[in-house]
């Protein structure tokens, strides 16, 4: 070995070693980078989830508002009988056949979409599939006919459908779709269309949130009609007309079907309430949308009339007591319920007492104030007989229920008969009805939890959190081995819990945002061993990096979070100022986090999120005003006090729902008087002190063309907040502004 070679080898060795060190360094940096990304992805996920669940809790606000209205019915009468009567409309029983004149609807020659012929054939479903892929809309006439036929079919079905794998090779179970047509088409593409070889169970939540709810549900119903033996649908908590008012399905229908939307929606209401609530495979696997409770009784569930629980959001009074929100409600009620002649006031005192006299009184009240009243108080006796026979499955005894627009009971069950809501057939034993309601709501709204036991699901406002012991007990009781449910979004599209006894299956990929989660479906063969298939729909053909996806999702989550902060600005500021007696504008990070925690009640890692939400002063303290800097109102409205603006922003969803109810023809316009009354009512219920003149000024200023009506869609838009730092948003806003001025 000469000098030269050894030096060369040494140098080579050095270089190699250097390269290795360099590689290790880069690898460590990169892994750190990816770890941070993963962290951000998790935090983002947490934000979406907490806001989603908190939003559902807001729903309670609305329901308690209706309770409030009912309790103060007579007093409010003076404020406008028209408004109240609009909100308390006569009821039409979903079991009854509505007058559907779909065959009178003319389909123009120019219509190039599918022309369905009933009974449906494969040609029809193929036509629907290709039409929807091409962004076409099915004509209202066929929608109505489809719904009408679906309703007829569903009436014959039991509450719990039993399937067997001895006849069918494999069964595929899909979870929430939420109007995501792309996901449904992807499932059909990967797994095959429904057929004798490919059985499907769709586990609820077909509509709301996504933009193509109509198309999704039409396809599902079409296949149901085509292959009633191979296609099975369970009801989800979003197959509910009040949820639809809030989460987008109603709006979508009205936008796509301007002339017949209302009719279509009414039929949808009926169909939704007639969907079966559970499916059982081989007597071993139970499939329900939400979950179970410690009171779930499958035999009882088989026997009830499921269509009577039209909406889960009309719940019995006693459940309200579990929840904080009812507190403010009850307080206001106590001051008002001095008038004993009003039957509704007795509810808070005598829950279980109800006399025929009271009932008659109430019915009389309703007749006075509602335009069309088609029943009498004697309806109660005739209906009781059919309800007292729990052994008769509802599918075998088609009965004509008298429609009864009677007012709510003085007992536990609260029913608000508006917009064809809960059919209020008076019951001899109110607890029976309450039980039915609870059993169904538990099935549709419950979530599993890790700890044993069963507690009320206060986040959702209905249903329970059920523990592994509850699952175990139910499975044992009915000889089952597995529970498959949906209702909760999971990052991988599915998740096991309760030691493998519960599967959550979720089929809407990118639910919160592009890249937020995968969708999945589960297949069962004769051996009943679940096999999972995952997928993710992507908007672009180019593969997005994790970075891009995380960034997109994060941005979206943070915006939602900032809006939440903005909506609670006054409360937050009050909280901050408690820690800042000297008005320095600063608090410590800890104090800031404490205030957020207590006001917003969102379980989030505030300290970690801090850099996105608030600024630090040089000394490390937090400048709390900076929380709200990014946000500002959309179109500045004159004479709007900040307090009013904030309240309107916070409750805009609820207000929108109420307006939608008032605006019966869904024209988007309500009268100023109606607006005024509604707002006064709502703010009285909220306990928000708003000057009457401020409301009047606001109402008048919104009526730009001075014709006495408010385009409340525009009005609500005005209270949409703008993220100042988001230039894209500004551009969109300017575009909207421009369109408004020209159009």
């Amino acid at each position: 070995m000469g000098c030269g070679t050894s030096v060369a080898t040494e140098k080579q060795g050095e270089t190699l070693e250097q390269a290795m060190k360099a590689a290790v360094l880069i690898q460590r940096w990169y892994r750190r980078y990816m770890a941070r990304l993963e962290m951000r992805r998790r935090y983002t996920w947490n934000i979406f989830q907490s806001i989603e669940y908190a939003g559902e809790q807001d729903q309670l606000q609305l329901s308690s508002f209706f309770t409030f209205m009912l309790d103060n019915f007579t007093q409010l009468n003076g404020n406008g009988p028209d408004l109240i009567s609009q909100l308390l409309d006569p009821v039409v029983d979903p079991w009854l056949d509505r007058e559907t004149c779909y065959n009178l609807i003319h389909v123009p020659e120019s219509y190039t979409g599918p022309r369905l012929s009933f009974p449906l054939s494969v040609a029809d479903t193929n036509a629907l599939l290709s039409a929807f892929k091409d962004q076409q809309t099915l004509h209202a006439r066929y929608v109505l006919q489809l719904l009408y036929e679906t309703k007829k079919l569903l009436k014959q079905m039991p509450n719990i459908v039993h399937l067997s794998t001895s006849y069918y090779k494999e069964i595929t179970i899909c979870g929430d779709l939420h109007g995501r047509l792309d996901d449904l088409l992807l499932i059909f593409y990967k797994n095959g269309l429904p057929s004798a070889e490919t059985l499907y169970v769709f586990n609820g939540d077909f509509v709301d949130r996504g933009k193509k709810s109509v198309e999704v549900v039409i396809l599902l119903f079409a296949f149901l009609l085509l292959y009633p033996d191979y296609m099975h649908l369970n009801r989800g908590n979003h197959e509910d007309h009040i949820m639809n008012l809030r989460y987008g399905f109603t709006k979508e229908v009205m936008q796509k079907y301007k002339t017949h939307g209302r009719e279509i929606l009414q039929l949808f209401q009926d169909v939704f309430s007639l969907l079966p609530i559970a499916t059982v495979i081989d007597g071993k696997i139970l499939i329900v949308h939400g979950g179970i409770s410690d009171q779930t009784d499958l035999d009882f569930l088989s026997s009830i009339e499921r269509h009577k629980v039209k909406s889960a959001l009309r719940f019995p009074r006693c459940s309200l007591e579990h929840l904080d929100i009812s507190q403010s409600c009850r307080q206001t009620k106590r001051t008002r319920s001095t008038d004993s002649s009003r039957p509704s006031s007795s509810r808070s005192q005598n829950k279980n007492q109800r006399t025929p006299n009271t009932r008659k009184k109430r019915c009389r009240l309703s007749r006075q104030d509602s335009a069309a009243s088609t029943s009498s108080s004697s309806s109660s006796s005739s209906s009781s007989s059919s309800l007292c026979s729990p052994q008769t499955p509802s599918c075998l005894s088609p009965h004509a229920f008298p429609s009864s627009p009677c007012m709510p009971y003085s007992v536990n069950v609260l029913q608000v008969p508006f917009l064809d809501s809960l059919s209020s057939v008076p019951l001899p034993s109110p607890s029976q009805h309450e039980q039915e309601w609870k059993q169904i709501v538990d099935i549709l709204w419950s979530d599993p939890k890790i700890q044993d036991g069963c507690s009320p699901n206060t986040f959702r406002g209905g249903g329970c959190y059920f523990g592994p012991d509850v699952t175990q007990r139910l499975l044992l009781q009915h000889g089952l081995q597995l529970l498959i449910r949906s209702h909760e979004c999971k990052q991988e599209g599915y998740e096991f819990c309760h030691s493998g006894k519960v599967i959550t299956i979720f089929s809407a990929s990118n639910y919160y945002e592009e890249g937020s989660n995968r969708g999945a479906y589960v297949k069962l063969g004769r051996e009943l061993v679940p096999r999972f298939y995952q997928y993710q729909v992507s908007r672009t053909t180019r593969k997005l990096t994790l970075t891009q996806r995380v960034r997109a999702a994060e941005g979206s989550a943070l915006r939602a979070l900032k809006e939440k902060l903005f909506a609670h600005r006054s409360e937050l500021m009050a909280g901050f100022q408690q820690y800042d007696q000297n008005n320095t504008g600063r608090v410590s990070v800890c104090e800031w986090a404490l205030v957020l925690e207590s006001v917003l009640r969102l379980d989030l890692p505030w300290r970690t999120l801090r850099p996105h939400l608030a600024r630090l002063a040089p000394d490390g303290s937090l400048e709390y005003q900076s929380c709200f800097e990014d946000m500002g109102p959309g179109i500045p409205l004159p004479q709007v006090t900040p307090n009013l603006a904030e309240t309107l922003f916070r409750y805009r969803t609820d207000i929108e729902i109420i307006f939608n109810i008032i605006d019966k023809d869904h024209s988007g316009l309500i009268s100023i008087e109606e607006f005024r009354q509604t707002w006064r009512l709502f703010s009285a219920h909220l306990g928000v002190a708003i000057d009457d003149s401020a409301i009047d000024d606001l109402a008048r200023s919104i009526d730009f063309n001075k014709d006495g009506s408010i385009d409340f869609t525009e009005f609500l838009e005005a209270f949409r907040v703008v993220h100042k730092l988001d230039s894209k948003d500004q551009q969109l806003h300017e575009k909207m502004d421009g369109e408004k001025r020209t159009g």
Binding site: A22, L25, Y33, P611
Partner: protein, 164 residues
């Protein structure tokens, strides 16, 4: 006197850091039972600003794992992490060093690396990347047009701290 202030300082440090550790831990405590999957330990470390090697992680994991259950409980995680902090076991690597590292690999000093070169280094040297990690890195950092990895542009991504 001096001892008191030292311990007081230590306590203050611990509260802040404790919250940070708790936050990082809870992000992965999906079952809400104060345990995290072992596989996430690396992510937790990195997200807290440490730069352990894979070997470091394995050693740490073996010391705190709950009887090979695959999970680590908070009660064992916390003291072990505290030790790591106090002993400054996995100090940060500065960005200058990162730049130098890239320059070492870029023998011809072109200012960029070819995807194949980077792949070679990352998957064969040091503590090799998995195929998935490599794919992700290439997708994220390769310039669309020129198909090169301009590492000077990449470095800010790797080091940038998020701001409001």
């Amino acid at each position: 006197m001096a001892e008191n202030s030292k311990s007081a300082e230590a306590t203050v440090l611990n509260t802040k850091v404790l919250k940070k550790l708790k936050g990082a831990f809870q992000a992965f405590d999906t079952k809400s039972d104060n345990t995290v999957d072992i596989k996430e330990i690396g992510t937790i470390f990195y997200s807290l600003g440490f730069f352990p090697t894979q070997a470091d992680l394995q050693k740490f994991t073996s010391e705190v794992e709950d009887e090979r259950s695959g999970y680590i409980h908070w009660d064992r995680f916390l003291p072990a992490m505290t030790k790591v902090l106090l002993e400054d076991k996995f100090p940060p690597i500065s960005d200058e060093l990162l730049l130098q590292a890239f320059e070492v690999l870029d023998k011809e000093k072109r200012g960029y690396l070819e995807p194949e070169e980077l792949t070679n280094y990352m998957t064969k040297e040091g503590e090799p990347f998995t195929q998935e990690e490599m794919d992700e890195m290439l997708t994220a950092f390769t310039d669309e047009e020129k198909k090169h990895i301009y590492y000077k542009d990449v470095i800010p991504h790797l080091t940038l701290e998020r701001k409001m």
